[in-house]
Subunit: 213 residues, 2 copies
DNA sequence: CATTGTGAACTCATTCACAGCG
DNA sequence: CGCTGTGAATGAGTTCACAATG
């Protein structure tokens, strides 16, 4: 073992948040920022900010703070935001189209290079930008030909596992799953779930607690 | 203090997951399920399942397991899934429409009772089901008239805070925010963020770690 | 002298291990 | 005998507190 001291996933999430705030700070003309200010913007504790950054190096100047531009560059490198990533979408319903058309993803270097569905009336349909919806059966070859590195699942829950399996057969080992279903995958494949039906349940639970109190 | 022993938010999230698995188990004809099986389905530790349920009561039968139907009913009550919740959407772009049309939400008792935008070419536009997109300036009165309890934000990042403020002025105190922006809100208002640009960053970070290894 | 960087203390969550019970 | 329920042990993540320093 060389030195990896186990970085919490939450730290990575926050790094991404810091980056967005730094973009805004730069836009607003700030040159330096303290851990206190950055923490306030992200609604967390200043020590947390310093500890998170501390995992990757010493980026600040004591008594002064962090250089807004420089810290952006550092985080960019850590999160490898300085390169593009190709992704493919399976399931071109409303959610699939919404992801396909989402500005913020393209803006951040996430390029949708292919969109798939299994419905005959969708296959072949043109998409903005000149692409067409492909038959899900082309998934495996498309992964190779178009160098798809990330699979986005926006199918109904019942189809999610099957589609995930197709992605994995094509050796995609990062999946973002929007379907309200748990994906079974070996350790070699990363899965992140974005199930807002669960989030809604959590929200209403908390809401009722608050009402009761 | 009566007895509330601080239930982790993660427990609530898992309860929601258990519920989905129980629905599937019932559908597949299972009558009983062990913590081990339920844990396996959710890809977690069996002790976790038992501890989570233990916060709310004793729902199992020792030596046997949990009654699939009964446990569903218990969780339903805990998460107050046995009532409907009204929500309103602000920002009827692709993502807003996707949420509006999402089957799984309606299926789980989350009813969209109003949709808002500030773009003149969208206001008044008919939506499936007979509703029309309202002017965002009607938000406050609509909250009262239609009893909106949850605000869903699907605007661009730059608009998110403003819209959140409108919801809060109308005394909505639960917000689900899809915009890649941090919402500032007092403690009385719950905010859950679903920022998949952040999730993408986390995914690619992990992916690169894996590639490097 | 204001602010970083970081070990130590603390808080919170998960897992173990086994007593309790049907 | 098998599986639940739970206190105790472990582990992870956050916050504190202060020494280090530009």
């Amino acid at each position: 073992m060389i030195k990896t001291k186990k970085i919490p996933k939450a730290t990575i999430t926050r790094l991404s948040m810091y980056y967005r705030q730094l973009e805004l700070l730069e836009f607003d003309g700030y040159r330096m920022v303290s851990s206190e200010k950055l923490a306030w913007l992200c609604q967390i504790n200043p020590a947390q900010v310093r500890k998170d950054l501390g995992y990757f190096g010493e980026f600040g100047v004591r008594g002064v703070g962090y250089d807004v531009i420089d810290l952006q560059a550092q985080i960019k490198k850590i999160l490898s935001l300085n390169r593009d990533w190709n992704f493919g979408i399976a399931g071109m319903g409303n959610m699939g189209c919404a992801i396909f058309l989402h500005r913020d993803l393209a803006l951040r270097g996430f390029k949708c290079v292919a969109a798939f569905d299994n419905a005959l009336d969708r296959i072949g349909m043109p998409l903005p930008g000149g692409m067409r919806i492909r038959d899900i059966r082309e998934l495996k070859t498309a992964i190779r030909d178009l160098n798809i590195e990330i699979g986005v699942i926006t199918t109904p829950a019942s189809e999610a596992q099957g589609v995930a399996d197709l992605f994995m057969e094509g050796h995609v080992n990062a999946i973002l799953n929007f379907a309200p279903a748990r994906i079974n995958a070996p350790d070699c494949c990363l899965v992140e779930n974005m199930d807002f039906t669960i989030t809604m349940d959590v929200l209403t639970y908390q809401l009722r607690q608050k009402i009761a109190a």
